[in-house]
Amino acid sequence: MPNYRIHKTEYIDETKRVSFKYDGKTYFGYEGDTLASALLANGIHLVGRSFKYHRPRGIVSCGAEEPNAICQIGSKKSLTEPNVRATELELYEGLEASSQNCWPNVKFDIGGINNFISPLIPAGFYYKTFMWPKSFWKKVYEPLIRLSAGLGKSPTEPDPDIYDHKYVHYDVLVIGGGVSGIIAAKMAAKNNLKTLLVDDKKILGGSTIYQNNESIKIDDKLSSEWLKNEIQEIKKLSNLTIKTRTSIAAYHGYNFLLAKENLTDHLPEEKKKNKIRQRLWKIRAKKVVIATGSIERPLVFNNNDRPGILLSNSINKYLDYYGVTCGENIILFTNNDSTYETSISLHKKGIKNIIVDLRKSASSELIKQAESLGIKIYFNHVVTNTFGYRKINSLEIMKLSEDGNTTVGNKIRLSCDCLGMSGGWTPMVHMHTQSGGKLDFRDEDQVFLPKENSEDQISVGSCNGDFDLENIIDKTVNKINKFLDIDNQDYQDTNIICSKENDKRNIWLLPNKIPLGKTKCFIDFQNDSTAKDIKLALKEGFRSIEHVKRYTTTGMATDQGKLSNMHALGIIADTAGVKMGTLGTTTFRPPFTPLTFGTLVGRNVGKFFEVVRKTSMHEWHVENNAEFENVGQWKRPWYYAKKGENMHDAVQRESKAARDSAGILDASTLGKIDIQGTDASEFLNRVYTNAWSKLAIGKCRYGLMLNEDGMVYDDGVTTRISENHYLMTTTTGGAANVLSKLEDYLQTEWPELDVYLTSVTDHYSTASICGPNSKKILNKIFPNLDLSDENFPHMSFKEDKLENINCRIMRISFTGELSYEINIESKYGHSLWKMCIEAGKEFNLTPYGTETMHLLRAEKGFIIVGQDTDGTMTPSDLQMDWIVSKKKYDFIGKRSLYRSDTIREDRKQLVGLLTDDPKEILEEGAQIVSDVKSKPIDMLGHVTSSYFSPNLNKSIALAVVRSGKTMKGQKLIIPMENKNINVTVSDTIFLDKENKRLNA
């Protein structure tokens, strides 16, 4: 096995060998490696196939910008993770990784055929090709596209890992632990500011930490040595927190930032167990220093995507940090000075390399150093092609013309096993723009820079366009002093020697003799978009950068165009003949690098997903085999199945029992609002459609509440407990919103009213007993209470005691039966319930759930707000004109009830429906029509509630139908998938229209 690890570094622990599997084969690396560095040490460059053409692709970078080396981690159904960047994944014992987007394997991939038919699949191929015949879309095209789409595989089972969230507050947050970030953090912390420094890597130091060129020095030390010393110093600062392996995912307004901390991803399987895997930090910082650095740009030339072609600085990092060389015969292709550091470092380690430089000449100290070492430099040359299928083996260069627009002279073929490229550096302005900052364009080196920093955020170092060490340190110190309003003198006398210069020759699309249509000049490696695609998009009329991006998918892969966006912009600007800065950029959206769902969700999984509210009777329901229904956050008994019963059987039995003898419902979840104050009656007058001033003490009244637009919002029964004291009930789901709305009016529109609202939903438990025998049961529970119709009529309220505990008893009914609701302090709810069950035994008192409740009220034609209404129903639409006071001058929504739209006769109105076949039960939500032959079919409305009524022995339904009020007796049709169901419009009340049962 080849070994490309050619020297020792302090970051690789060669005493700790780590074995890992890649594509099923076992390899070895060392502690300190990333998966990418370990693969390169084993001579592996080919790590995947490209998305569209399935071209072989290799590792390109050493960080978050990596477009190619994304892999599938792990093989377990619950723990596998796709799209992990090998360049960021720290190696651990037992790591299993595999390449993605290839079949049967990365070396021989069937999809590679796409590369040969590539002239047939240009940008917008899908939009253009799969348009016709139309019928092919669903059955042929879509399944085929889906089969070949997507990167990697998702886990198919729940994630067993633990994730965590943490909220923190700091005076200063410094993002990025490179040289400028370390200086900023030290200055802040030493001046008594509580500071947090985060860096996504395992150790601090950025790209300076492995810098070892003698011509770049700080205070007479190698810059890396100087920086190590600084790191030692800041670690001693007590009010500085340092978080490594932590990357900022999002920068929101008001300096609220989200960071992801990796806690166990670098540990072997057995050490991960029972530990928190990742933590989401929710950071509020008074001030933020952005020191995120810059990333190297690739160059755009023909076949610039072969395995073995890397960013030049990444070759340097693999060499000086990981001790790995990316090849033995390396060519470096550049337009700037920074590559010369790589070249000299390679040379000193005995790796042969030559430089192809786009510039006509250059003469910095660094270049002189390279020349003096005898490194061959081809100035004013350009790479025009590369060769080698699974890995680069040679390339061609040509001389550039004077203006740089064409090539001249003869091709020179050079052999190599690795190519480093550098198109200069792109400042990482993501954080700045995410925070709302704008950008400026600097023409001289073609970079976007942060503009007009707000008072609470600043960019320093190379993310601010300062590329040489002298500038970085001086400017950072000055800016931080000003930004934090401090006067730190630590770096006053720092002596910096930097032999690099900043000049570069920027050409976005490098010239070539071969016509563009026959080249493969990749811009976005992951999404396979080429310079040709960009030009095609422009030719077809796309102008906006946002449109070109979407049409060509440039910058839309999992790397979000970290390497590609600048070139896309540059080529658009060149082609359209506009200045680069005027185009703007595409939007930088969070997250900066992909987050796991686990991190976002944190602990809120399983039973912690949402708050669950249970009534005090809940245990009894569980013991008695209740199935539960979620109503808002409440768990409500849905039905109580006896042995051998299904839901239908149970509901039929419960419904029958409630009307034949007695039923009991846990009504504790209904919203309850305590209303007190001298203006309570006036307040109710204004919020309900009906009149309240004359409601006697001890009486109850049903009320309908509208929105200001006249649509029904909520309903419920309100009881007058004393002169200035009411108890309002609301729907279970609407309780919080109703309270909010009432508070809104009280505080903002009618502050003069003396009214106080208190939510008492959780304070009382409610047992509702209904049915012809309910009075007898009540009599057993409250033997001293006079239950006669004269003393305690329908819609009235009494107080009594149960063993000295106060109870409020309302005679109100949602079923149409004689019915009582007993309210007691919540802690006694369970006892009350058991007492009722005991007392009702001889009368077959049957507990029923929400489904039976719905059925019973539907028989009686009572609406459920939110089921029979949907925010577009007025009281009149519901045939409830009777509840709207004509006398009241005003109430919420009154004026809207006679807007031209609300008085239309052809609005959808609530009606009853009876099926011609009484056994046929309609589906709720089914459409209603009058004629199935006309095209298009005219939709008249839909079914809102539907049940089989055991008490009427037939199917009943409520529906909203256009002009329904006038259609009684009319035949309508419910078209279903396999048949048409014939129905007749009926009254909404199906049972006991005369209200005889209420007083039975």
Partner: protein, 93 residues
Amino acid sequence: MFLINCPFCGERDQSEFSSGGEAHIVRPKQPTELSDDEWAEYLFMRKNIKGIQFERWNHVHGCRKWFNVVRDTSNDKILSVYKMGEKPPVNYK
């Protein structure tokens, strides 16, 4: 996420609040006297300004009080906070 300075409780995270839309839209005292258009103006029409906007917020997971906020919608900066019934600050017209 904003930090909102509730005039009753002090500075809190936005997640404790809910927004109530444009402020200073007074409910007509005599709705019955209004034409459909006038009522629709009150009911539906909102300015939705890019720039300085007066809006209502409710400290719904706190003191439950409604109050007014002056916010620049172009950069989300909250410029002023004042109680219901108080006059809006004049310098932000």
